[in-house]
Subunit: 349 residues, 2 copies
DNA sequence: TTGTATGCGTTATCAG
DNA sequence: CTGATAACGCATACAA
């Protein structure tokens, strides 16, 4: 039995479609008698409104698009998407996900699909190309960037990376570490996009420097390793962190702590340390970033958590406001914070 | 500029809407002249078809629903969803995801949303309640289960868990292990659903027994630990594996190898072994299942891989066939297989 | 308090 | 080869 229509409900209840619509939307005057008959009819034939017909008529799909990067490699993206979806559900919305894997061409295709399906707004975590984002503006569809701003073509709800990173550095310094290495995304390779001002990678790196200075520790370029977060092609996605750490451990005066700006990088670091026969945190401490893989690693990873749930929920509420009012609410800067687990300890003597 | 309509294209090109539709769908006779004018008009006003109008008219949404379990805890689900989506994209489809976290009530809500949005079919990875699945049947929407069959109310594309599990056991036995522990999902707690015949958990457990027997090893109930795969509420999702392993290590005659039937369980096992000051694989070998977290763990985990990409792709193609022909294609039993990494080695002397 | 009528943007069926 | 025209299922302005 293909779902019935509103008209069939009306017939069965002996009223007009307008009346059925009124009881369904719980607005407008309806007599108790009519209401009861309609409700009975709805139940009897198992009527379910056709969302597509409704959307066509209202020129609103109650659907938003969510563009994501590297969804099967980095759990960060699924998490943000999950919470955005959760919030959307609470407001009668559904989301369409699209994974661009960092490729502008894929992103363009995804955006075209979104436009064809008439999403009411689009969330980017993260955006790749300004031109693509402009496609949405041209179509009159609001767009919002989450976690970082990579293009000036859309507003962004960003994360304060500095606060959490400084906590991490202070934690390490407080444990007596004097040689702290940094494994991070290269600001030149990652995230620069077309937005002016510091990128996420700039901020994390700057916080490393500031944390060193605050603790009165010298900066040593041998302890600085910048590159990609992970490779999408290689099977062991943490191999970037693994190789950097191998190099670090080969140093004559090796570090006693490593601050990696992604849990995936930290996962690779833990593998390299283990392979070298050293123990974490006894011989070397490790801190990650994101709080994605952290609780599953050995030992459980101390890490700077990103506010993934807030990002998703607040992000959705922001686009909803844009859809309904045409204006963007203020965009808060969401804090990151250190989560202590078992991969950090006192510096070895 | 809100996206233009087909009628506007028609006006601009000086033809009827029917002609525009003909060139857009590349079917039916259109003169080269008319075709050129239409194409120019489409380009000029940046026309994009309205998928909702099309769907309403064709009574087909080119959308499928995908019900998932524990999406932010177990990467397995995102992976299957990703590949199903990828295949869907190749066929002009999009998927709606819905996460039920194992709750029948949530699943019901998700299915209702799917029906309202008129998805053309639904994929379950995995289903919770037979009643919910029947809701789809009542609405005339084809449904297919992926990875395991938990209800007789829909066909299923399942995985052959036995072949991979036997490989794992043979690998361990070949390395000289004689005391091999098993940490797995409890057939009574997980997966029994309403389907007759052995569950996934039955199969994995049976393969453990068969592997033992094949290697001429005795079965020792002290080495058998059954429970849940993970807890959705606890932060460290691998805590189940951690606690089982602590118990195993406390045994007077402890095992030299552990076969855990989920990478998340194995992650917890690795943590417990590490905490006990033992090394993997020197003191104890560990094998997981799924190949999700495996490459990120320390040491990289030997595991039985599930065919996640095939599950997603073949699953989508099967529902597409059901949508188009009304009949289900044959449902293959997809093999699992052992992936060797660094967590297994010769049994200690 | 209720009903009628129109249109949302397509597609499909007809004639021409 | 092309153009009217009628649905698809719902929402809403307007009348009654």
């Amino acid at each position: 039995m293909k779902s019935a229509t509103l008209m069939q409900v009306a017939e069965r209840a002996g009223v007009s479609t307008a009346t059925v619509a009124r009881v369904l939307k719980a607005q407008g005057y309806v007599s108790d008698d009519a209401r009861a008959r309609v409700e009975a009819a709805v139940k009897a034939i198992g009527y379910r409104p056709n969302a597509m017909a409704r959307s066509l008529r209202q020129r609103r799909s109650f659907t938003i698009g969510h563009m994501l990067d590297a969804i099967i490699v980095n759990p960060f993206f699924v998490n943000v998407a999950h919470w955005a979806e959760e919030e959307a559900l609470d407001h009668g919305y559904k989301t369409f996900l699209f994974n661009h894997n960092g490729l502008a061409e894929r992103e363009r295709i995804g955006i075209e699909r979104f436009i064809e399906r008439r999403v009411d707004a689009v969330l980017f975590t993260n955006a790749v190309s300004t031109d693509n984002v402009r496609l949405l503006k041209a179509a009159g569809i609001p767009a919002l960037q989450l976690e970082r701003s990579r293009t000036p073509a859309a507003p962004a709800i960003r994360v304060d990376n500095t606060v959490g990173a400084l906590q991490a550095m202070a934690h390490l310094a407080g444990l007596g570490h004097r040689r702290i290495a940094f494994i991070g995304g290269d600001p030149e390779l990652i995230g620069r996009g077309e937005t002016a001002g510091p990128t996420v990678e700039d901020d994390r790196l700057a916080a490393y420097g500031a944390g060193l200075a605050a603790a009165g520790l010298p900066f040593d370029s041998a302890l600085l390793r910048l590159g990609k977060y992970y490779s999408l092609s290689e099977s062991g996605s943490g191999s970037e962190g693994y190789h950097h750490t191998r190099a670090l451990l080969a140093l004559a005066d090796r570090p006693t702590a490593i601050f990696a700006t992604c849990d995936i990088l930290a996962a690779g670091a833990l593998q390299a340390v283990y392979e070298a026969g050293l123990r974490v945190p006894d011989d070397i401490s490790v801190i990650g970033f994101d709080d994605t893989l952290a609780a599953n690693l050995t030992p459980q990873l101390t890490t700077v958590a990103q506010p993934m749930e807030q990002l998703g929920r607040i992000g959705f509420r922001a686009v909803l406001a844009a859809i309904e009012t045409g204006a963007w609410p203020e965009q808060p800067l969401l804090p990151s914070h250190l989560v202590l687990r078992r991969s950090t300890g006192p510096a070895p003597l």
